[in-house]
Amino acid sequence: MSVEKQINEVDTITVKFAGDSGDGIQLTGDQFGNTTAIAGNDFATFPDFPSEIRAPLGTTYGVSSYQIQFAAKDIYTPGDTPEVLVCFNPAALKVNLGIVNKGGLIIVNEDEFTDKNLKKAGFETNPLDPDDDTLRDYRVHKIKITTLTLESLSEMEMGHGDKLRCKNFLALGVVSWLFSRPLEPIENFLKSKFGKKPQILEANMKVLHAGFNICDTMEIFPIMYKVPPAKLEPGTYRNINGALATSYGLLAAAEKIKLPIVFSGYPITPASEILHTLAALKQFNVAAIQTEDEIAAVTMALGAAYGGSLGITGSSGPGLALKVEAINLAVMTELPLIIFDFMRSGISTGMPTKTEQGDLLMSLFGRPSDSHLIVLAPSSAQDCFWISVEAVRLATKYMTPVIVLSEGFLINSSEPWKIPNLDDIPEMESGFRTDPNGFLPYKRNKETLARDWVRIGTPGLEHTIGGLEKTNETGQITQDPENHDLMTRLRYEKTQKVANDIPELEIMGDKDADLLLVGWGSTLGSMRASMEAVASQGKKVAMINIRHLNPLPKNLGDILRSFKKVAVIELNLGHLNMLIRSKFLIDTAFLGRVTGQPIAVTEMIDFINKELETIKEH
């Protein structure tokens, strides 16, 4: 295909697809992401959808969207605001209008801008009317996506509805042309997906090419964009989201420790993804069980951990709330239970499909009495893989529950991932005790303070555990006052011991800076982007991202104290902030936002600049 348009080479660009939940937006986004990956760009995505399954057509609350930033350099976020918005209907335009960059490109499916749809979306006038002001600041391209789809399929013998369902591939063809993307990856996908349905395959292929070709022939766009490949580390890459990375990490850990997985869960957005993924990967010795509720889920996993398997469960806030009592039993019995919490927005049901970092304090302190366990948090989609491995390593080595605080945002967002060599991951030991000699159920390893893990069934090691307080070493139940004080402290100390076994924190950015940004979890991306933006203006900033939240890395205190000012950034009203203040008595600055979205890089930059000003003034 010869292309003679003006080609605009850019470093980084953000594109957003938006439409009805039924429009196949997520699929379109994913496919575009794939072509982007194969073109060698770095990228990050942000799928965002309503909690309704299929809200009534054309309503604003039914809008689903997929944002992707891709670049010729390392990038860390899906971008604050899109330069290009592809709207499948008026509602999608309505919802996203405010956020497109001035001068940005808006592509709309003109067919959908009917009076009825405009009214549904809450438009009083038609923004596509030549004399309407709404879109004055943008470069608008109207394409009759529906009509073109139907036209290009006019010869095919298939239902009208089936034809309509192809329209997102027309849009994909258009956008592929616009960003000089090859169509092969999408074609490959279509072939693998519809291999058994040749008609649908053919239709989608047709429409995809139609979309691409009309751009050539109809001269819709005066320019095309080109984003050159990023300079990534050499290796084999794939596209990964947090859901897959989490599951693969668990499988890798299970292989390394040579134990089967019993994953029991109760469906809940966004945690269900993990249950779905593992249920389809039973061949890796995974019993993936849907239970009657979250209490059954966590106790079943605990029963499996007691038996000698990897007992794992996962949920989101409302489900975690139900698991509290059982997690305390796991702390008391010192069993290696692993609990994933995919944090979502808001107290109670809140905004189930939106993201937040609101469960940190609950994970640390949300159990009756002094109850301590390990808390980890992945900082990116791919880090979910490594955190899964780490969770298995620490839970089994220290015989303690581990909570992994993951995020709705990480589950769904994707990025390029250099596929790791599994052989590089160290083997792990289950360390099952088999020797009856001198066995005492609560006798501890001197170094780790862990008690022995016994595979239930082992001859000679019969013993009973439970939720009542027990005598140190022997495990006999007792109400002895000093023993309870001792055991409470031992359980606490065991968790603290883990600090000797985790990597120290590494400072990113300028070690000589006055200001240190502190964050955890998914804010890594936007913090890094903000830090680099500020640094590029010649200002000094440093940052850390904490992946081990309990215990905290040993060098945290030293790092904090070596900066004039420490600013904590979180998607909550101040969880880590409270922890740091109480532990290190440092008067931190704080930026917390709970909008259900990542904090915009621009907002963070403002915050950083303000803090830098304050330091100067002093």
Partner: protein, 337 residues
């Protein structure tokens, strides 16, 4: 995994722990403890191959007094814990000890779902129709009108019938007996063990302190033969001190006929533990109009939960070789040089 009882390998005492039971003097939990230990000796597997999982309650202190593996969990949750254990270690004999509060009040939902799952667990529900450990509040099996600490004016709720609930939940093995029928209890426990799938054993257990005599109406030595009926597969449904009464098929329920001892009429039904109609009718009988059934009420074969879980894993293995490197490297990949 042998269940042969020919060669006597174990004695009841082999399954006794060193801990002294802390139940009240007079509590029937002692009798059940002894029966379980006796049954285990009969079953003939070493103690390391048994695990006893319990919830919270007087009854749930059980594991401490056994020399097997034991897990005293939290209130109402022994069933999912036991299910996780059994899925993880299918070769174990897993016993669950629970109470009327633990198993039917806070744990009622797990009971229903465990029964329909049919994991190979042996559930022993100690029903004393009271909360013992918390000192005398009513339970879901307390008789309506009973006066106790939380119902000084009498309870106002209709009691749950554990056996009926088990039938409705599709349990594959259901038995009912009493802690005061030690021999029968031992037999039932052995059969419960032998059954592949969930065995639900409902045991009337007298709480000497808070609900003494709750079952005297039908377990008292004097009157029990007239108020119990022993159900046994393949045997006629007869009862009475002189074995002079029997059950016949009536209009959607059993009728009781009396006859001369020894001369059981043909109309008296022969029990079939696999017949859903007889099972339903036996469990629908209401005391005192009908006698209280004792023995094995239902026993049918069905795939167990852990079998199905593992057979799906097997199927998956046959379908997809478990190659993790390949999996992680799957999908669209690309090289960066």
């Amino acid at each position: 995994m042998s269940t042969s009882t020919e060669e006597v390998k174990y004695k009841a005492n082999d399954f006794k722990s060193e801990a002294e039971p802390r139940w009240c003097p007079g509590c029937e939990d002692y009798a059940i403890l002894k029966a379980v230990q006796t049954a285990m000796a009969k079953i003939g597997r070493p103690k390391n191959e048994h695990a006893v999982v319990s919830g919270i309650g007087c009854s749930s202190r059980f594991p401490y007094y056994m020399s097997t593996y034991g897990f005293h969990t939290i209130h109402g949750r022994p069933l999912p814990v036991a299910t996780g254990l059994k899925v993880s270690n299918p070769e174990l004999a897993v016993w669950v000890v629970t109470g009327d509060g633990d198993g039917i009040s806070i744990g009622g939902n797990h009971l229903i779902h465990a029964l329909r799952r049919n994991c190979d667990l042996n559930i022993l529900l100690f029903n004393n129709r009271i909360y013992g450990l918390t000192k005398g509040q009513y339970s879901p099996t307390s008789t309506k009108g009973m006066v106790n600490k939380t119902a000084p004016y009498g309870t106002i709720e209709d009691p749950v019938d554990p056996v009926g609930l088990a039938v409705e939940s599709g349990a594959t093995f259901i038995a009912q007996t009493s802690a005061s029928y030690v021999k029968e209890l031992v037999d039932v426990l052995v059969e419960a063990y032998n059954h592949k799938g969930t065995s639900f054993v409902h045991i009337y257990q007298n709480c000497y302190i808070y609900n003494n005599g709750a079952f005297d109406g039908f377990t008292d030595r004097e009157i029990r033969d007239d108020n119990n009926i022993k159900v046994e597969h393949g045997k006629p449904l007869v009862f009475g001190k002189e074995l002079n009464k029997g059950l016949t098929m009536g209009y959607g329920k059993f009728d009781i006929v009396e006859f001369e001892a020894g001369n059981v009429p043909d109309s008296v039904l022969v029990y079939d533990e696999t017949d859903p109609i007889l099972v339903r009718m036996i469990s629908d009988m209401k005391f005192p109009e009908h006698p209280v059934p004792m023995g094995i009420i239902k026993r049918v074969q069905a795939p167990t939960f852990e079998e199905s879980v593992h057979s799906q894993i097997q199927t998956a293995k046959e379908k997809f070789k478990p190659d993790l490197k390949k999996l992680i490297g799957s999908g669209e990949t690309w090289e960066v040089k």
